[in-house]
């Protein structure tokens, strides 16, 4: 049976959310294909217990102590061996730093095509059609790989929602393989950082500031409100030039897609790439002095007026 493989990525002893999101999406588009989560771990790890809650049809499990802190090269050796033996139709990765490093290495060895940082996936008959943004999310391309197998894609984190599915117990297929460790590279333990990238991606509430809300007092008040409601402050492109912010807090370019329950956009006009970046937000509130700002078209609540006065009103009454 034709199989969709999802490479299950882990960091800090946890399954990366992007892998679980891909399991849910793959099941949605599978249309009879088997969804297989591929887990590489050492004997102290049990990522299968997390993964099985999301209901893949099968878990392909490799447990080997040589997989602790494995390099890209070593993981490539294992995944390529498995893929050459079992011949999956499709292999998907999260478009994380790890996924974007591993997938092309594997692509190169399997001599096939890989589409990067996709925002959507579907099958047209046997062909995986991957939707990929280009030019800073201003243009979308549909890309296929008609003559080579497996079909491969990396998918932008937080584009799809991971949904727990206990309707069937996945079959766990533990395989013994030789882990061919690349002796040229040594990987140390991962260190957590104060980086906000992940917290923007997984934040439930976001206050986003744009060109029309970049004064020091607005930034201060936005942080105050964020503290009160448990939100994170994010920005659109122009504010990344300010010393307080960097591309890590930027929504809408090169990977930072958000999916909060609530986002309050202050002084953001709504350039195409920004709108793509927030398309999975559940409730969108926008404040802008320009009644024609495109951001209003994708908002449930709008206020035409001064962002700072609106912020004051929120802080006073929340």
């Amino acid at each position: 049976m034709s199989e969709i493989w999802i490479y299950v990525e882990n960091h800090f002893n946890r399954v990366d959310p992007s892998s679980l999101q891909l399991i849910t999406k793959a099941k949605e588009i599978a249309n009879g294909r088997q969804v297989t989560a591929v887990i590489l771990e050492d004997h102290d790890q049990d990522f299968e217990n997390t993964v099985k809650q999301y209901g893949p049809n099968q878990i392909l499990l490799v447990k080997n102590d040589n997989l602790k802190n494995a390099s890209d090269e070593t993981i490539t050796n294992v995944l390529v061996d498995l893929a050459q033996e079992q011949k999956p139709d499709t292999i998907l990765f999260g478009a994380t730093v790890t996924g974007r490093s591993l997938a092309p290495r594997i692509q190169g060895r399997l001599k096939t095509g890989l589409t990067a940082d996709c925002l959507d996936l579907r099958f047209d008959d046997d062909l995986l059609v991957a939707t990929k943004p280009s030019y800073g999310d201003n243009i979308m391309c549909e890309i296929t790989c008609p003559k080579n197998k497996p079909q491969m894609a990396t998918v932008r984190p937080n584009t799809f929602e991971a949904v727990v599915d206990g309707s069937s117990e996945p079959k766990i297929n533990e395989v013994e393989v030789t882990v061919d460790v690349d002796p040229r590279v040594t990987v140390s333990d991962e260190q957590g950082s104060v980086s906000n990238t992940r917290s923007i991606g997984t934040a439930k509430r976001i206050i986003a500031l744009g060109r029309g809300a970049q004064s020091e007092s607005i930034i201060k008040k936005a942080n105050e409100l964020a503290g009160k409601i448990g939100a994170i402050v994010a920005v659109s492109r122009p504010l990344t030039d300010l010393p307080e912010f960097s591309h890590e807090q930027q929504i809408g370019q090169s990977g930072n897609t958000v999916a909060p329950d609530l986002i309050i956009n202050l002084g953001i006009s709504g350039a195409v790439q920004y709108v793509v970046g927030i398309q999975n937000a559940k409730t969108v509130v926008s404040v802008n002095t320009d009644p024609k700002a495109p951001i209003f078209d994708v908002s449930q609540y709008k206020y035409v007026g001064d962002a700072e006065a609106f912020l004051d009103g929120l802080i006073e009454n929340v």
Binding site: P104, R105, K111, T112, G113, A116, Y135, E142, I143
Partner: protein
Amino acid sequence: MKIIVCLKQVPETNNVKIDPVTHNLQRNGISGVINSFDVNAIEAALELKDRYGAEVVALTMGPPDYEKTLRLAMAMGANEGVLLSSRGFAGADTLATATVLAAAVNKIGGADLILFGRQAVDADTGQVGPLVAEKLDLPQYTYVSKLNLSSDGQIDAVRMLDGGTVRVNGDLPAVATVRSELNEPRYATPRNIKLSFKKDIVVYDEKDLDLDDSEIGQAGSPTIVTKVYTPTATPKVTETLEGSAKEAAQNLLTKLSEKSIL
């Protein structure tokens, strides 16, 4: 020590439009500039040149006007520039591009370190660096925010993950792709700009690189673009918050609270 820096020239703006009739991208009249992340890769190479006297070769694949990206690298301090240019290279995806770059690295005689920017800002794939590493059977150090080489042939790097960092080290030769956090690129000096125009740029095509037509350009590309379009957002039913800012804010809080959103 020899270092090859692979560069890409990209449109000056990402604000490209689609021709409503032909559905092709309208790129006419948009001039090309060096991909911004690649400038950090040049700087990383030049710091190794300053420290160890490394020889730095700038390498790019593209039409003849990509020469200006190589000139910029030389104006910053690269020793030489190599342009991979041929009609046969057109339409290449990441795999076909990596095939040509890897062949060029071999033609140049290899290197201790091959550097890339983390990704190009137009297509945003970040795939070509790891693909070249794979094709040359070299270890890869991707998305690095710290990079040290020692004179005894070791590389020590820090990869920035989405929520942390990880140290990776090992033997040279290797491929590295660099993040902008790695360094602050230097400016070209007037002397180097002048010198850069006195240097010849070496140009190779598929025959020079001994590549078969089936490996390059469109023929060597497993992926095809089947559709190009401008994304449209799904419009939402929008409720206008009326009154003063304070009233509107109060009104919003009430509504969000009624729906248990806040």
